[in-house]
Structure formats: C-alpha cells, structure tokens
C-alpha cells in the first residue's frame, strides 16, 4: 500500500481579488521507499501541496489518503491524530517553541495524544542521532540555524512517522550543514520512511530518488 495517494487534488483560494487555483488536479502516489523532491517557481503552489498532503488544509476538491485513510475527509480529531502519528513535518524556517527546552520541543508531538511509555529516552536518542545530543537542555534561541533544523527533524521523527514532509529544509543553511541534513534525510528514508521535500536547490533535490516539478498548480514528474 502506498503511503500517500492523491486524487485530482485541487485547492482554490477564494480570499483574494479573484479565486486562485494554487493546486489543480494533482494525482500522485508516494511509496515507502520514495524520497521525493519537488521544485518549482515561487508561488507555484508547493507549500500548498505539502499542507494538503499533511491534512492542514482542506482540498477544494479531490482527496488525499495517508496509508489508505482519506485524511481530507476525517474530522479534526482523527485527522490530527493521523498527522501526529504518521506524518513528521519539518517546516520552513525556525519553528521550535522558544519557551521550552530543546528536548521538550522534541517530546511535544508525543504528548499531544495519550500514549503509553516515556518519551524522554527516545527524544534524547533522536537528538544524539541528528547530532545535537549535547544541546538537549538548551533553549532553542541559543542554537544555530543548522542545529535548530536538526532539532526540528528530531521532533518530526518523534512518533516514528511513515512520511516525512519538509518545506525547503536547507534554504537557510550553509552548504556543509545542508548536506549533513540531507544525509540524515536519506538515512531516514533508507530506514523506511517516505520523504516528500520541497526545495529550490538542485543540490538538495539530488538527494531524492524521484523528482517533480510544480508549475502553476500542476505537478509533473521529471524522468531522467
């Protein structure tokens, strides 16, 4: 079974001067072993697509299934639960909560729903794994951009998702840090999580094993 499946997925923003179709009729499937890169001009609808897949936005028409469940048709609680337990999301820019420590940030997704077990051990392991284990008790604002990005990757992995979504994960990182983060993504992908990533940078896109282009709301796969 595929991790993600969309059917003529469409999002029309009606708030502006005239209705604007940010994503139109996207049909695609993501399998477990996929590491997908999406490139495209600014405003072509990439972030909108990611938000639709994650169930953060309701499609105007069409649907999104995550592991066979139509997240676009679930109620808020069930949809949130799917997002919480099956999707890890690494957003663009700084997204850690500043009032709590690094490790508390990582633990947060675990605490949003009742679960058995103790999250701190795993959170610590994840921080070690992304290479910032020694920063567990720091405040996010004392971390560099690259360190923050790693922490948000660790946070995305907290509930062992089957899909990792990342919106321009290297846009504000230097080359070396970028490649470290991308190595991490590849590793996660090899361990069995599908990756859906938007990027503007060809070097970053190269880490993927399937490549898509977004243009005016349409998604097309580039075959090498």
């Amino acid at each position: 079974m595929s991790v993600v499946e969309t059917e003529s997925l469409t999002k029309v923003y009606s708030g502006g001067v005239r209705p604007f179709s940010a994503v139109s009729g996207v049909d695609f499937t993501i399998n477990e072993e996929d590491f997908i890169s999406v490139m495209g001009r600014s405003g072509s609808g990439k972030s909108t697509l990611l938000n639709l897949v994650a169930g953060l936005l309701r499609p105007t028409s069409g649907s999104v299934s995550i592991n066979g469940r139509k997240i676009s048709e679930l109620d808020d609680r069930s949809g949130s639960f799917v997002r919480n337990s099956e999707i890890g999301y690494v957003p663009q820019g700084q997204s850690l909560l500043g009032n709590i420590t690094v490790i508390e940030n990582v633990v947060l997704p675990f605490t949003l729903f009742k679960r058995p077990g103790e999250p701190y051990g795993r959170a610590k392991d994840l921080l070690e794994r992304v290479g910032v284990g020694d920063l567990a008790d720091s405040r996010p604002k004392n971390l560099s951009g690259g360190e923050q990005r790693r922490v948000s990757v660790a946070r995305a992995l907290m509930n062992s998702p089957s899909l990792l979504i990342a919106d321009e994960p290297t846009s504000d990182l230097d080359l070396e840090t970028s490649s470290q983060v991308m190595e991490l993504f590849s590793e996660i992908n090899r361990e069995g999580a599908a990756v859906l990533m938007v990027t503007h940078e060809p070097d970053t896109a190269n880490y993927g094993n399937r490549h898509f282009t977004m243009d005016a709301g349409k998604l097309t796969e580039r075959t090498a």
């Binding site: 972030s47 936005l57 808020d76 919480n84 009032n99």
Partner: protein, 399 residues
Amino acid sequence: MNVRTLSVRNLSRRPFRTVGLITVVAVLAFSLFAGSLLEESLENGAENVKKRLGADVMLVPKGSGYDAEAILLKGEPNAFYMDKTVVDEIVKFKGISEVTTQFYLTTVSDAECCDFPVQLISFDPETDFTVTPWIEASNGGGIGHGELVVGSAISLVGDNQVKLFGNEFPVAARLGKSGTGLDTSIYMTQETMKDVAKLANDRGYPSPALDGIDSQISTVLIKAEPGYDTYLLVQDIRFDGVNVDVIKSTNITAGLTQQMGSLIGYVKVFEVMLWLLAVVVLGVLFSVSVNERKKEFATFRMMGATRRKLSSLILGESSLVSAAGALLGAALAALFVLPFSDSIGSAIGLPYLAPSLSAIASMFVLSVAVAFAIGPLAAIWSARRIGRSETHSMFTEGN
C-alpha cells in the same frame, strides 16, 4: 509536557505581560470583594439599628428629632428633655401596646472611661422593652442599682468596671457590636442615673438631671399593637398637637437604606464597568498575543494538535492568569479592608457592621469566581478564532 506546564512556561517567559494581566484581574477582584464587604456591612448596620431600637415609634422634644437620629446613626451623644406628662397624653391613643421612657445624659471626654463623649441612657426596668431583651441576651439576667450595661466600644477598667466622673461602676453586661451609636452608649436604671448626675454635679458639671430626673424624660418609646399601622398612630399624635418630634423606626431604616442605596448603587455601577473594562482589556491583549503567536499555533497544528488543543492552550493561559489575579486581589482586599472595618464605618458616617465570618467567606468565594471568569471570557474569542482559522495561512504569513 502538558498544556498546563506549557502555559506556565509561556507565562513565566513573558513576566512583564503576565504581571500586567494579573494586575488587571487583581484590581477587579479587590474592588469586587471590598465593594461587597462595604455593601454587606452597611446593610448589616441598618438592620442592626432597627433591631436595637426595639421600638416602632420614638418621641423626642419638639426640635430634637435630628439630634436623636444623630445619636443612633452617627454616635453623636446628645441630651434633650421634656416633661414627663407627655406620657399621659400619649397613652390614650389607639394601637399602643407598650410605652416606656428613657432619660439621656452625656459625658464630656474626661469621663475616664473613654476618649470620646459617651451617651448615658437610663431606662425604667419596670416598663422597658427595648434594652432589657439585649441585656438578657447578653448576661442572662438583669441590671441592678449601681450597675451599668455598656456598648461594645466602651472600655473597661479593673475588674469589669467603668469609671464615670471619678467613680467606678460595676458592669453587668457588655452589649455586642452594633455598628451604631449604641456602641458608645452606657445604660443604667433611673436610680443609678441619679447617682451619676450627682457625681457629675460634684465635679462641676451642672447637670439638668439632678433636679429634673423625676419630672423630665428625654424620649418616649412606643411599641405598637401587632398589626396596627404605626402610620395611623403617628397621625393621631401629630393631629393631637402633642409637642414632640416623632421618629418612626421604619423611617430611620428607610432613610438609611436610601442613603446606602445611592452609595451601593455607585459601587455596583463602578464594579460592573470595571469588570467589563477588564474583559475588554484582557480580550484585546489576548488577541494581540494570539496574532503574535500565529506561527507557534501553526507549529502545533503541524505536529498534530487538534483545534481543541489550541483553544485549551489559550484558555489555559488565561485561566492561570485570571486565577492568580483573582486570588491575589481578593486576598489583598481582605487584608486591607477587614482590619479597618471601624475606621471605614466612621469615615462613611453610616452604621457599619462587618458581616459574619461565613458570610465573608462566601463573598470571598463569589468575588474570586466573578473575577476569575474574566480570563476565560476574554480569551474565548481569540481561542475560537484560532480554532477556526485555516492553518496554512498562519504558516505562510509568518515566513
């Protein structure tokens, strides 16, 4: 990491804002609790005047009505006299059940018992129906010749005695606090009053009581027959041209209630406005902070927080702030108002009697509850807004 710890962290990382929010609620809780204490104490005071008066109608010499009320309500001692024969003119009227008389004398401030002038009142144990019930309630017995019954503000010396004009008198009973002029009064029988008047005279305070006490009185107190309209009785007395001022106990309390009414009215309006203001101020502040924190909420959504969770995060913070402010404000009010009950009473110039401990406790709880409600109420709008908005827009805007 749950909603509560997160709320606490968020609040403690913005100390200035948090203290500001708490202060707003605290000011309100303070005024609510202090206001209701004031209100309740005034009502209590008025109720007590009526009870202590014991009579339905009080007659005093023509022109002394105002002074007589001042004795009761403000505790300003005074004395006035009329001929005892007034009683004979009165008893013939319809609707009278009991009649008794009292004789007034005032001390000057060197009475040695007190820093303030004291109202001395003698009554006739044979006919009295106003003071006796209180004495009985207080000491279970009566009052003998040479004994005094004192109001709660009169201080005792030695072995339960009061010093008047250089002489010590045993105290038979001390009456409970009434919040009225009766707290600075001393009661005694006619015979004792004669002794006191003589002592005063010996000390160089020529006293009208000395010669007049057998023929003069200060007031006639009347109890109407049950069910008889005191208004009719008062009409009769006035028509008949008896040379007295008539004070109806219902008028006194009605007058009090009226004076209090406007005071309490102002306090109430003030409280309601303050409450609304607090809700609006907090509402605006929460709304601003929700706007500032859009990205934080978007992050929560992204991690899989339900809309409900977001709302409860906002409501949780506002409830914490509100609870802290409400308790703090009401506690401060208790600290600053309760111990100064007496001085507040005299500053207002109305009978003022603090309510019972249990009444105070329930007012405390109520004030805290009403003040506490501000936080969640002010936040509910922001909470709903964040619960409804589409998260993507929260996300892209911030970037």
